[in-house]
């Protein structure tokens, strides 16, 4: 928190940069992206089997069963607003339970197995939906 107060513009500029690159902020509905997700660390990439896919506003959520060592853990990935994603080729049937996918996104600041989704690819490498158009030049 102290660092934010000393350098208030950095996080703002970072979010602008992310918006320019991938439209991360376009995902923001009513909770602050920068507060909950770590935009300064590397993107996380996780492969797993879809257990549930909720495609409702303010954000959709994909729940994945992920093998880790000899165990199975659960990851969740929060999507952009579905009403925005619909214009990028998504719908409620874009992901199917039992399907293996790879999700990439910004990890939650609290260290939990939760991320803000940037991109999804199917097992055959096919991307789900289209990437957002840059919002600023």
């Amino acid at each position: 928190m102290a660092r934010r107060e000393q350098q208030p513009g950095i996080i703002l500029r970072l979010c602008v940069s992310l918006a320019m690159a991938v439209g991360c902020g376009g995902a923001i509905a009513h909770h602050s992206f920068a507060v909950f997700f770590d935009t300064q660390s590397q993107l996380r990439k996780v492969t797993g089997v879809v257990k549930e896919f909720r495609f409702t506003n303010p954000h959709g959520v994909v729940t994945l069963a992920v093998k880790q060592g000899g165990h199975e853990i659960t990851w969740r990935a929060e999507t952009n607003s579905p009403s925005i994603l619909r214009r990028r080729g998504w719908n409620a049937q874009s992901l199917h339970v039992g399907e293996t996918i790879t999700v990439e996104g910004w990890p939650a600041r609290d260290g939990s197995n939760y991320m803000r989704l940037r991109a999804v690819t199917r097992a055959n490498g096919e991307p789900v939906g289209t990437q957002p158009t840059p919002l600023k030049e």
């Binding site: 107060e5 979010c15 009403s83 939990s112």
Partner: protein, 266 residues
């Protein structure tokens, strides 16, 4: 429920618009009907942050006003308010603000007021007549009605996220004043306006008619020592319509306040 209310409201409004849209009596040669004398804002508009700020609109902004450069996906971090000068009580409230409050099930689908909603990265659809203008926001299924007939709100008019909006034309610019807004966030980081906030918006078309330009000024002496303004612009996308938002409060179940975080680690 909110989507249902919005749908009913839209039906009533569209019926009113339909009535307003009845053909005008034939005008004498050389005359122009009031509706045709003004720019047509009708259509689907998507937020467009590439549109340059309009100097003419910004020149009309009142003195002592901070320009908030947070339109669209950009958001200020905690403790930054874009030049707004907060009253001590508002500053203290912002310091105590917890982002988890808005992620409780009872709050997850609560719409903000138009102060925050208009600048969000969601499209709007406008229906226009010479008596009123309807703005349907995709964000939280919000529906704004701007009365152009000079009516005033009743003494007991309720406060809401959309408030009461009345507008008039100043040349090609639509000037809209909104009051009766429920207290809600200004910057999504702990700064809320009061129920006495007053919002003044100016809307006009860009030179090519394909962009809609606006300034959103607000003043709230109960909360702020100065005023704020945003520049907001949209690009027209023919053939598209605003989608239902249909918010699901179950989304809040993905979030736990600090101290309960471990419950999410499974």
């Amino acid at each position: 429920m909110r989507a249902h209310v919005s749908a009913v409201l839209m039906a009533v409004v569209l019926a009113a618009l339909s009535g307003c849209a009845q053909p005008h009596p034939p005008a004498p040669a050389g005359a122009t009907s009031p509706a045709r004398a003004h720019p047509d804002f009708s259509g689907f508009w998507n937020l467009d942050m590439k549109v340059p700020r309009d100097p003419q609109l910004l020149a009309q902004v009142a003195p002592n006003t901070a320009f908030l450069d947070d339109t669209g996906p950009v958001e200020f971090p905690a403790g930054e308010f874009g030049g707004l000068k907060l009253k001590p009580a508002a500053l203290e409230a912002a310091r105590k603000w917890s982002p988890y409050e808005q992620l409780k099930p009872e709050n997850a689908c609560k719409p903000p007021s138009i102060v925050y909603a208009m600048q969000g990265p969601f499209p709007i659809e406008i229906f226009q007549s010479d008596k009123l203008i309807v703005m349907k926001l995709e964000y939280y299924d919000m529906v704004r009605i701007v009365f152009l007939d000079g009516r005033k709100p009743e003494s007991d008019y309720p406060h809401s996220p959309e408030g009461f909006s009345s507008g008039h034309w100043e040349g090609d610019t639509l000037v809209v004043e909104t009051t009766h807004l429920e207290p809600a966030t200004i910057t999504n980081n702990g700064l809320d306006h009061s129920e006495n906030v007053r919002v003044l918006e100016r809307f006009k078309l860009g030179a090519d008619g394909k962009t809609l330009l606006s300034t959103q000024e607000f003043e709230d002496p109960q909360v702020l020592d100065n005023r704020g303004v945003r520049f907001i612009a949209w690009s027209k996308q023919p053939g598209q319509h605003v989608y239902p938002y249909e918010c699901d409060p179950g989304f809040a179940g993905n979030y736990s306040p600090p101290g309960e975080v471990k419950s999410r680690k499974k």
